[in-house]
Symmetry: C2
Subunit: 430 residues, 2 copies
Amino acid sequence: MVPHLTTALTGPLLELEKHFLGHATEIERWMRVQWQDHMPPFYASTDLRNSGFKLAPVDLNLFPGGWNNINDVFMPLCVQAAQDAIERICPDARQLLLVPENHTRNQFYLQNVAKLVSVLQLTGLDVRVGSLLPEITAPTTLELANGGSLTLEPLVRTGNRVGLAGFNPCAILLNNDLSGGVPAIFKGLDEQWLIPPLHAGWHMRRKSRHAAAYDRVAREFGEVIGIDPWRINPEYGVCSQINFQERTGEECLAAEVDSLLTRIRAKYKEYEVDETPFVVVKADAGTYGMGVMTVRDASEVVGLNRRQRNKMSVVKEGLQVQEVIIQEGVHTFETVDDAVAEPVVYMMDRFVVGGFYRVHTERGRDENLNAPGMHFKPLAFQTCCSLPDCRQAPDAAPNRFYAYGVVARLALLAASVEIEETEPAEADAA
Amino acid sequence: MVPHLTTALTGPLLELEKHFLGHATEIERWMRVQWQDHMPPFYASTDLRNSGFKLAPVDLNLFPGGWNNINDVFMPLCVQAAQDAIERICPDARQLLLVPENHTRNQFYLQNVAKLVSVLQLTGLDVRVGSLLPEITAPTTLELANGGSLTLEPLVRTGNRVGLAGFNPCAILLNNDLSGGVPAIFKGLDEQWLIPPLHAGWHMRRKSRHAAAYDRVAREFGEVIGIDPWRINPEYGVCSQINFQERTGEECLAAEVDSLLTRIRAKYKEYEVDETPFVVVKADAGTYGMGVMTVRDASEVVGLNRRQRNKMSVVKEGLQVQEVIIQEGVHTFETVDDAVAEPVVYMMDRFVVGGFYRVHTERGRDENLNAPGMHFKPLAFQTCCSLPDCRQAPDAAPNRFYAYGVVARLALLAASVEIEETEPAEADAA
């Protein structure tokens, strides 16, 4: 049931996986101790890229969609992990309000919401879904393509609490990334748990802050198990004064791209990697794979044409891009059915609970796969990420998946640090 | 993959399961709140009997063997739950010592130990196995029939700590039920976690104390979801001054049996159950299915013949029986391949992590199945106990298994209460 999984350059990755396997006890103990000091996010997903010589997260989502793509065999793991998450945040909760994105026409997204509802219900919560859409003025049941259904209800604000008619939840789980800012109805709440906290929304969040936190996590982890953190960490730079439409800040961007490419070239030389380095320019607050550009030379970001500038200047909810992160590109040498693929790992609380491959038949191994035309292989992670098998070869599926689970949890830990560090002072929070 | 599962009398059980399904949210929330107040045992297994009109635990084991019978698909659940258990008891542990029973010739038991070692290693612990056997004077590797191996090492006492040569663990997990008393090497330890605590061993533990705790748990649970607790709780009585060899205490036993049978008859009448009531007489401190007798009439316990008296008077480790519990017998109307079967549910921390059917081709539905000739169906619980499916019929496998998981966790909660209540004063503990 596991799809054919190939890695063009197996040598160094085998070495990295072997290293993880040989240090699994230290890794797990170190993780356990980290989670004593840091509160894990309720849930998260991360995109990994596996170039053979490098296995690294390139994105971490604190409002993960795509739960519908998780294999049903992982449901018990999801439920068990969700129980931990609920106990950690609101142990005496009876009712939970789930607030999704406004995509009522996206069947996949709606199935994702329905799957989340079913996981959370199984932890013993009365779960209902409250919509921010103005057209939802009464409970509205949507039929899903998979035979299920989902009822959206209008949100009701009463004093300092948000709920539904006849439903006063102790906790509100956001599956809406707040790209458009915090809706007025969520401002100035008290006595209710907002999960994740509002400042984790994309109106405040910056990829570069996550990268900075991951930098430190990767460095510490590298010391613990004795690896060069570069093997699991994409280098990055930031340009914070860019305006693609007005063509200002291009020089800063070009200089950062050049500096980063130079650093990558040095690393490729050190590791004798015979590939062309590239970087990915991304809106620092962007999501959904929007506002992303692959660059192999600094000259490519100077004198962008109108189409390129339009593409880079606006992200989800029409937000203008002013800050970009320039991230070391990590080739993906994995393929599923001959198409380029990257693993996406899902987590709840501090546990890996599933994953799948994002596959794109039209993209190259140095391109962003989170783009129209992508599809998912939900069967891929038939086995789970927590069970390395020392008796099997380092590149056997359980062991490769263990390596994915380790790196994904490092990104999760970085997100936890990032959320702690960006927590606003109490006055701002309200 | 789920074996054919039939229940002769489906009506009332369907009603019970339907009731559990309809109250899953209350049940899960109530459980969550209970685990805020009570510390779950590290691990446990429980034998359930399902008579259709009644679904009840008849035994709870705090030193569960048989992990080798758990389907491998449940390994991720075990590892995840074990991580919770470790974090709860000794989050900064690096090394864990596992102390098994002295059955070095029992291949099944050794495979059980090896399975436990692998689960615990995957939580990031350095796990080694210390034997109480005097003949283990040096590390001894045993080859297992399933292709694995297990290394037993001699225990080493140093001051107030127990370990192995060059191995100073922070925690000691007992898979040895201490039927023969606490070995001298474990007396007066400090600074090390003993799991479960010593007073949970069979040298101290009494089935009747567990039954008393379960009584209260079942009553409270019954109130929460509105069922007669008898539906999930076997009635019981105690005789504490019995000597089968000297034939003293027989009258007390006969009177208790009679009183219990009378109470059961009344309940059968109330529920219109057309079955012959029976009780099971068990050594109050016994285990391994030893010292167990099925009785349908009080006269059967008077004037026992020599064979019966021998069978009842001695349990594991040659302990003399002085106290017995008389437990309401619960028929098992489940069959696997036409043989009588009972579910055995395994738990770690507060989670159900697997189970199987104990099957006996030579026994009747009102007999103890934990007897020579029994076998196990590890494939049975292909699906897990935490995922009721409201869209399916109440007797569909996921829903039946959910009911098992609920009742098993009630027994687990009772064990937690029992351990708390029997904790010796500090002076005794040392």
